[in-house]
């Protein structure tokens, strides 16, 4: 029986054991804080805190994290990472290009700060996929699969959360600022959906339901927790659903009562100067919070920045709002990660669902329309060799000209960077085998140095 056969056998078994949930539950159960009381919990936590200083994590790939900068709506490649200064005005538009700190590499002129981090970044300029509908393309880019009516594919974040599990009481997969299609757990099940932690730029930022109500303190919470145990007639009932609920309830208590986990979300603790440098806006503060979260133990943080669907007023929106925000937040994130020694274990990915038409449209306030035939993806950190551009679009930015890259290749690369085999198979509840990345090739140039 070869490997794929074994996997099929596995699927047949899983299907009849309530999909993947049972295995997940077992996995969760082994994390080991089931049934601890809060004082025991604190003791354990204190012991953990002493033994492993948070910042100096071991650098095995299993400890790597991802920060996904998701540009919802589809950002123009020409106005960001693939400027065409020599093209006709009807294509290049009013924006110029700026040389980065890597000689010979230019990016859009409104990204001057990120340009100075170019030596850490690799730009993939020849990505394309051809699906111009937002929902489908969002799904494609964030799962590596085009959506099907009967299979919901899991996002990269859900897969990585599934593979790497939880550490330090923190949700493994967190989403910040906004949400988009294609970020969910799909057939892996809702327990691997992202934990939505809102917009950290909001005054008095709090994660929904993370803090106890004002009239409840830890002592009262502990009393309540014990009381539930005492009054619950279904305690210990023979049911996977009961066990699963107990597990997640314990996780929630862990998150509520763990000082370090709570602190990871306390962006207010950061120095005012650094917060300013990231930018006092949703994106900038999300970048900062994302850094705090991966530092503390989250595996995958997605920041969804919307507003890129610029059919109208492309240049105004980009110049006055989106690009300065992106430039500041992303540049500071890369610098900050690097200075903390976190960049080598953190993959930063920038992308959106598609590029935009190189030809500027004829709207009253001109914009660019959907263009899935060419888009740029940026990657940095986690072993990616910076200072390089891979692939090339033609002189008008219409499509790949050299080294075409498929979405599946991007997917394979993300998994590979995280130390996962892109050919690893999962099985849908109906038993269909699904590889992590569908026939994608790892973009090897990214790792050559």
């Amino acid at each position: 029986m070869d490997n794929s056969e074994l996997k099929q056998l596995g699927s047949f078994v899983h299907r009849n054991c309530e999909g993947l949930s049972r295995r997940d539950v077992i996995k969760v159960g082994t994390l080991g804080f089931l049934g601890l009381t809060l004082p025991e919990f604190f003791a354990l936590e204190a012991a953990q805190a002493q033994s492993t200083p948070a910042a100096k994590k071991p650098k095995s790939k299993t400890d790597y994290s991802v920060i996904m900068l998701w540009m919802a709506g589809g950002p123009s490649h020409v106005d960001t990472w693939d400027p065409k200064p020599n093209a006709d005005l009807s294509i290049r538009g009013p924006f110029g290009a700026v040389e980065t700190n890597v000689p010979g590499i230019f990016v859009g002129e409104h990204l001057p700060k990120v340009a100075r981090q170019m030596d850490s970044m690799a730009i993939l300029r020849s990505v394309s996929h051809g699906d111009g509908a937002h929902e489908r393309a969002e799904h494609f880019m964030q799962t590596g699969y085009l959506p099907l009516p009967t299979v919901e594919f899991p996002s990269y974040g859900s897969v990585i959360a599934n593979e790497r599990g939880m550490q330090n009481n923190l949700p493994p997969y967190v989403s910040l600022l906004g949400m988009a299609n294609g970020q969910s757990a799909g057939f892996l099940g809702g327990s691997l959906n992202p934990f939505f932690a809102g917009n950290p730029a909001e005054g008095n930022y709090k994660v929904q339901n993370l803090q106890m109500p004002t009239d409840v303190n830890l002592a009262r919470l502990e009393r309540r927790r014990k009381l539930v145990q005492a009054v619950d007639s279904l305690k210990g009932a023979q049911s996977d659903a009961v066990r699963s609920m107990d597990t997640f309830t314990n996780r929630a208590y862990g998150l509520i009562t763990s000082k370090s986990a709570q602190q990871a979300f306390e962006i207010q603790k950061e120095k005012v100067g650094l917060r300013d440098e990231y930018g006092r806006n949703g994106f900038g503060q999300s970048c900062l919070l994302a850094r705090r979260l991966v530092e503390a133990g989250s595996r995958f943080v997605t920041i969804t920045l919307g507003g890129w669907d610029t059919h109208d007023n492309n240049f105004g929106s980009l110049q006055n709002n989106l690009l300065p925000m992106l430039d500041r937040g992303m540049a500071t994130l890369l610098r900050d990660l690097k200075e903390r020694g976190l960049l080598e274990s953190t993959l930063v990915v920038w992308m959106g669902e598609f590029g935009r038409t190189p030809m500027i449209n004829k709207n009253a306030n001109p914009g660019r329309d959907h263009w899935p035939n060419a888009l740029s993806v940026v990657m940095a950190g986690a072993g990616i060799k910076g200072g390089q551009v891979i692939g090339k679009t033609d002189e008008r930015g219409m499509g790949p000209y050299e080294r075409p890259i498929k979405v599946q290749d991007v997917a394979a690369t993300i998994y590979h960077t995280m130390g996962l085999d892109p050919n690893k198979e999962y099985h849908t509840p109906s038993g269909r085998p699904i590889r992590l990345a569908d026939d994608g090739q790892v973009i090897r140039e990214l790792f050559k140095g």
């Binding site: 509520i256 050919n423 109906s430």
Partner: protein, 863 residues
Amino acid sequence: MIDEYRMNLFASKQHKKQVLLALTALPVLLGITQISPAKAQKPVKKNSGSPVGATASVAGFSVQPANATLDGSYAFQTLVAVGKSIDGAERDLSSSATYTSSNPAVVRVDKDGIAYPVSDGSADVTVSHGGRSVKAHLTVRNTKTNSRLSFETSIAPILIKSGCMGTACHGAPNGQAGFKLSFFGYETEKDWTAVVKGKDGKRINLKDPEKSLFLMKPAATVWHGGGRKFRPDGPEARVITAWIKAGAPFVPGRTAYNTDAKTVLTSNKALPAAPKLESVYVLPNNRTIREANSKHQLVVMAHYQDGSEADVTPFARYFCDDDGIATVNSEGRLLALRKGEANVMVRYAGKVGISSVMVQPQAPTASYPKLTPNNYVDDHIFAKLKQMNVTPSELTDDSTFIRRVFFDLIGTPPMPSMVRQFIEDDDPKKRSKLIDELLDRPEYKDYQTIIWADLLRNTRILLKEGVEPYTHFIRESFAENKPFDKFVKELLTGTGSTYQNESATANYYRVTNDPSELTTSTSQIFMGVRLECARCHNHPFDRWMQDDFYGMAAFFAKTHHRDGLGKDEIIVYHDERGEVRQLRTQQVMPPKFITADKPLENPQGDLRTYLADWITSKENPYFAKATVNRLWKQFFGRGIVHPADDFRASNPPINPPLLEALAKDFIEHNFDVKHIIRVICNSRTYQLSSKVNSTNSDDTKNFSRYYIRRLGPSQLLDAITIATEVPEKFPGVREGTPAINLADNSVPSYFLDVFGRSNRLQVAEPSQQTTISQALALINGSTINARLSNPNGFLAQKILGRLGDRSEKDILDTLYLNILERFPSEAERKEAKTYLTNAPTTKEGYEDLAWALLNSKEFMFNH
């Protein structure tokens, strides 16, 4: 050499042989051997498993199969000797039986019961065991011509079984070591070409077949990167050798080397066509096994369209769905492990067969309690449980029953006053009466509307203003208890504006107008058949071919959209344009029902009416079953076929007669949904307690108790608002509207989303998954906490505000009744009293108590 193969196959049977030989010495050879489940995991020792039930006697001794044909010199037939005890349990006696051929010049048989052809003719094999004997009749033919060999039916299955076509080997997108085969043999012609023409024809050596790389590589008589795939003297090698000798034909007459290769082997004589495989089946089809740790040889028979059959046991692939109960090895030998049920799925050349086993160490005992069925549901459930020696749980109490049936039938909990009334009512028919009342309540249609809106993907994101008419259609259909076939027919033929009530079902085609997507969702929703796999290739676990998929898609090809006058309004219409092409062949597909052999003859007008009529007809093999199964799931949390929309040969129902009976009843009552619900709810099975007894704690699929499950998103939210008497305010919706009335799930609600409300962008029911966000919402969220501190709520008004004028007992009764819909036990009163006494303040004490009850699993689950 095949003998050696067989010996090898049974080498590990030595152990069993000893056991059986030891048993032979015992007076009651075929007595019931009882092995307790505790011992079941250990290997059977020679001296263990002493027969008890000394009175049991043998009901039968037989051989499987009793008739067989050995077609071609390479053929073989596995014969299995079966002993059957009076209680219906079976044992595999093959390894201790003896076999004799009546004519060794025609049929040779080895000591393991494998028969081989010698020359054309016929002979009997006598199988003897313990003084009994029985005959198998064998016919031998084509030993000289081997005329039935073809690549597709004879060779490809061996390659698949040996793993050659997997993605890790030659089935990889770029092949392996210069040899590429299609993934799981979906393109046999290309594969054949690669075998016979690839590598300049060096893979095949016609002059000296045994020197062919195609044989030597997998047999590893020369170096092979993939290692040894089969033995050089095994049945695979015999078939391949015979095939190469016959000219390596793709089909008879079309051989490897034609004239230009100067080695034409095949004469132009008219040869029979390659046999077309129709199905495979497994012997035994089902078996009750008493002995844990016993071994059972499965025999897989291929059945061809011309009526002929062949033993393909070594070439089939085996998958057991519960390897805690039984395992099966790659040679088809099943090992029973412990008490329970398991299904072995067998795959051969794209066809699927199944063998179901029940391992039940104890025969039904005389002490099995006499159970009183309420209706036919119980007859079937109890019959199965008795067979398994499992006693169902007790009947559940009244307070649990009323809460349960409210949630399951109308999606919302009873008001506390109703619970009190119901408990006090002493009418023996009160449960039946309650069921009838619930079926007439308006929430019945509201709840069905939520269920169906999820399946039909009724969301504003897809349908815009079409949501209202679509909701109206679903709601009215269930309100009037429209016959279900009519409901489905109206959906499938939807035409006109998506914004008008009279053409609301046009929205079925607004959700998607893609013929492939419609094929997938329509077959899944109304027939419980998942065709998705057949979109890209023939279905690997089922009978469905790509032609079936695109034949069904063709019914949807002539349905189109145009813009209406309203904003985002769509008009669905039908005309003569439109076609569907099969993905692989790129042929235009005529409309064909998935189970039909031939396309529809001369269809006129709107093709969808043909499809709608066929799907909803009383003869459709899936429609009634899939529908009653879905209804069953609504009440039990899992289907008789599970998952409820995954009807497959390889996924048999847990209780086939029950499914048959429900489907028959549904058809006889003209697809009356309420009738089936009434039958289900009135059964004793539905009214069983969820508490386990000493016999049924392992049971998770035979409905010997009520399986508890978390309330759905809207059920849970409504339960909280009713218990706390503080309504929920949804944005843009009239205050006080319960969640069950939100037909449009785009109404924002963090709570409903977190608890798994479907986004309806896929055909999906609410998620039953648990998440950390759910736990946080319950522990810290305002949904519970703010309601407990609301001055107008239940806690403030009826508990804290009444402490002075009501007894503590009365207060606790009210608290429990409002939240858990039952009265507290004495122990619970005590527990509560202790907590209240020790609490910093009385207010805090009651708040915590209410909070704890709302956070209990008893509250969050239907049980």
